[in-house]
């Protein structure tokens, strides 16, 4: 059973109030709970009591050596995961910390073997402590394609989708000819088409999350996104209504 969800933002609640049937799960900022220390445990438990939730992290910096420099941070994450009953979290294939400097944004990875080695070492180190599998950010891959950095079909064909437990979608923003993964606009039709094609090839996928962090006043756009995603997920959840994609498909989500 694949759940449909979206980012939890207070500004979205009025828009979602009459459409709660569209949202099976909310995605919360893990770092908000962690940063509050023990004070964050109670709100985390309260959120978990309302229904299934996902936890999204932005501060693991999996692509840099800083990922292994903060074991206490992982302990704190583990505590929040235990309190919320969540057994997986998501973060980014990117880096946001270099030594003791914080970038406040995601820097993309250099696509060389040495970077992959560092990433794998970090992932193994993190997974030993908190577990974890793969989130596929379909929109991220397609934005990279729009910006001319990759071929999405190649990317989707390169990875093992059996490992994907969650999918992310979002609408970007074009600034000075560069598309940003801004989570600020409707999910493009292309992204939904890819979801339709890829979802049947993800037997372990548990949820599809629409990320929306900006222009929250246009919440009706999110409602429309959720309806579209719900339709695709319902088809995937109903045996015999979808065609399994024959090709080996998969993707990474840099940044």
């Amino acid at each position: 059973m694949i759940r449909v969800g979206c980012t939890f933002r207070a500004g979205l609640i009025p828009h979602l109030w009459e459409h709660h049937d569209l949202v099976d799960t909310f995605e919360y900022s893990l770092d908000g709970f962690v940063a509050a220390g023990a004070d964050g445990h109670r709100p985390a438990a309260t959120c978990a009591a309302t229904g299934p939730l996902s936890l999204h992290s932005i501060d693991l910096s999996l692509g840099s050596a800083a990922a292994r420099a903060r074991p206490k941070h992982l302990e704190e994450i583990r505590e929040v995961m235990t309190i919320t009953g969540v057994d997986e979290i998501s973060d980014h294939l990117a880096y946001s910390r270099v030594d003791d400097r914080r970038l406040h944004d995601f820097a993309p990875l250099w696509r060389v073997d040495e970077q992959v080695d560092l990433l794998v070492e970090n992932l193994e180190w993190v997974q030993e402590r908190i577990g974890g599998r793969l989130v596929l950010d379909i929109s991220n891959v397609l934005i990279n394609q729009v910006n001319g950095y990759t071929d999405a079909a190649d990317e989707f064909g390169a990875l093992d989708l059996d490992a994907v437990v969650q999918v992310h979608l979002a609408g970007g923003e074009l600034v000075d000819g560069l598309m940003w993964d801004a989570h600020s606009s409707p999910v493009p039709g292309t992204d939904l088409d890819w979801l339709t094609r890829l979802l049947p090839a993800m037997p372990n996928c548990r949820s599809v999350i629409v990320e929306r962090d900006e222009r929250l006043q246009l919440g009706e756009e999110l409602v429309a996104d959720l309806r579209a995603v719900r339709s695709i997920v319902d088809a995937a959840n109903t045996p015999g209504t979808t065609d399994i994609v024959g090709a080996r498909v998969g993707a990474s989500a840099p940044g």
Partner: protein, 104 residues
């Protein structure tokens, strides 16, 4: 010869966080990169970064840091208020107990 990914990340961080480094790189990308990175692949990668991308990422960093710092200040102000309330409550309890204990 293994490429030094960590060294290149340090230089990229310099470009994103330090306007002077960015200016020097903008003026002479190859000279800047060669002076900071021993490996030719590493220097070539940093020299080939897109100026528009670096500028946009640096600006994004400034905006997000300002937002983060603002929220951080709010969080600490909230903590300070909580601590002050706790201290005040503890002070009352202490004096109350002390008074009680001092009575015959």
């Amino acid at each position: 010869m293994r490429r030094d990914v960590i060294a290149t990340q340090r230089v990229v961080a310099d470009l994103l966080l330090d306007p002077e480094a960015r200016q020097a790189w903008d003026h002479d990308p190859h000279g800047f990169a060669s002076a900071r990175l021993a490996g030719t692949d590493e220097a070539a990668m940093v020299a080939r970064l897109q100026p528009a991308g670096i500028e946009a990422a640096a600006l994004s960093h400034v905006v997000k840091k300002a937002r983060f710092d603002h929220l951080h200040r709010l969080h600490h102000a909230h903590e300070d208020r909580q601590n002050a309330r706790r201290a005040e409550a503890a002070g009352h309890d202490h004096s109350h107990g002390h008074d009680l204990g001092g009575r015959p």
